[in-house]
């Protein structure tokens, strides 16, 4: 099982993702951070295989957190899950900062699982 940290200020998004990942049988959600600051702390304490992170959050936004996470750990695997995915500048900035992929909201289970499995293949 691959460990996933979800970072989103929305409880409902965290629940949506958790349900999708639990159904897959390949991923286990190990934590839910509500802003970029919590993402950095939880990455250090939980050591997740993948971080699914929103961009638009209070306290510290996702792109700022991504910049710090990639500086602290060049192997960190962050997938941005955001309603701003279709904004070209934001998408490009995320990739340049080291995001492994960007999933737009509203998302579908099939897309989420494909992106995460490609990024972190599980040993069956």
């Amino acid at each position: 099982m691959r460990k996933v940290l979800i970072v989103d200020d929305s409880i409902s998004v965290a629940r949506q993702l958790e349900k999708m990942l639990a159904e897959s049988g390949d991923f286990e959600v190990v934590g839910h951070g509500k802003n970029g600051m919590e993402a950095i702390k939880m990455h250090q304490s939980l050591h997740p295989d993948i971080i699914c992170m929103d961009m638009n959050m209070p306290v510290m936004d996702g792109l700022t957190a991504l910049r710090t996470l990639t500086a602290l750990d060049k192997n960190v695997k962050v997938v941005m899950v955001t309603s701003l995915g279709g904004v070209g500048d934001k998408y490009t900035e995320a990739l340049k900062l080291g995001a492994r992929n960007v999933i737009s909201k509203p998302f579908e289970q099939e897309t989420v699982l494909k992106v995460l499995r490609d990024l972190c293949p599980t040993t069956a």
Partner: protein, 286 residues
């Protein structure tokens, strides 16, 4: 599926990798020059004059060409020549992907057609904006994407009523709002009563019965709906050449209604839901 741009669509489909897309974007950035840089390359302006125009734009809200004309640095005919050259030399992302080897010349039209069909669901339908309101095309996108997401994300059946300028948003039990700042500024508001809130929660959480859910969770689903709508609006508006940033969504106390602040113009987009309940989208434009 959300509002996307072509490069993103190709990465999501697994047609090109993020590394190849980044190479193509870097190529685009080196080829696609700003209006000022094109004017310099044509000998119409010096770099010092471009800097002077950029400085002046920081204190007065004028486009580059208008500011250059105001300062007497560029005439209308020269500006048109600059725009034409900029347009003719523009490298689109698809062409850039072919140049860096991510796609072949034969594949490009096929994927462009696929992309067009995929995004056809987000082609803006006509929404009439009250006369005299500036930037009508942008507010049309706000209304149209709200209606589309109400169907696709919230799975609500409804009838949209004509938009009107108003001085207040009537009372609703739940009002979620999002500030936006940039080429246009204001607050996006989405207001519902309890029945619609439950149905939105049911759709977003993908669970039939939400009766036992806490208030906080039900409210969160309405805020997330607003987040999804506004993010996709930002993407669509960017395709029209304008941009704005959005703040995280917030919940407002709407039991007594909300007055439109004196420095803003309020537009109401009333929505009649199929079960008879009323909802409303509103924009308080700064």
């Amino acid at each position: 599926m959300a509002v996307m741009f072509f490069g993103q669509y190709l990465v999501e489909r697994g047609v090109v990798t993020r590394e190849v897309l980044l190479q193509a974007i870097e190529l685009q950035e080196s080829v696609n020059l700003s209006v000022g840089a094109v004017a310099v390359s044509m000998g119409f302006l010096t770099e010092t004059e471009v800097e002077r125009i950029n400085q002046a734009q920081r204190t007065e809200d004028l486009r580059f060409g208008d500011m250059a004309a105001k300062l007497g640095l560029l005439n209308q005919e020269q500006f048109q020549q600059v725009l034409t050259k900029q347009k003719n030399n523009h490298l689109y992302i698809g062409e850039a992907l072919v140049k860096v080897g991510g796609l072949t010349g034969e594949e490009l039209p096929r994927y462009l057609e696929e992309f067009k069909q995929n995004q056809a669901q987000y082609v803006t339908d006509r929404v009439v904006i009250p006369e005299g309101v500036a930037n009508a095309q942008i507010w049309e996108v706000f209304a149209d994407l709200t209606y589309k997401m109400l169907t696709r994300v919230a799975r609500l059946t409804f009838h949209s009523e004509p938009a009107r300028v108003a001085t207040a948003l009537p009372p609703f039990s739940t009002i979620a709002a999002m500030e936006f700042t940039g080429d246009v500024n204001g607050t996006y508001l989405f207001a519902v009563q309890d029945g619609a809130r439950k149905r939105i929660a049911s759709a977003i959480l993908n669970q039939e019965n939400v009766d036992l859910e806490e208030e906080e969770v039900l409210d969160d689903t309405v805020m997330e709906f607003v987040n999804v709508v506004c993010g996709n609006i930002a993407a669509k508006v960017a395709q029209l050449g304008s941009s704005f940033e959005i703040e995280p969504p917030e919940l407002l106390d709407g039991n007594s209604g909300l007055s439109v602040p004196p420095d803003r113009t309020g537009i109401l987009f009333p929505i009649s839901l199929s079960d008879g309940e009323q909802a409303s989208m509103a924009i308080f434009i700064k």
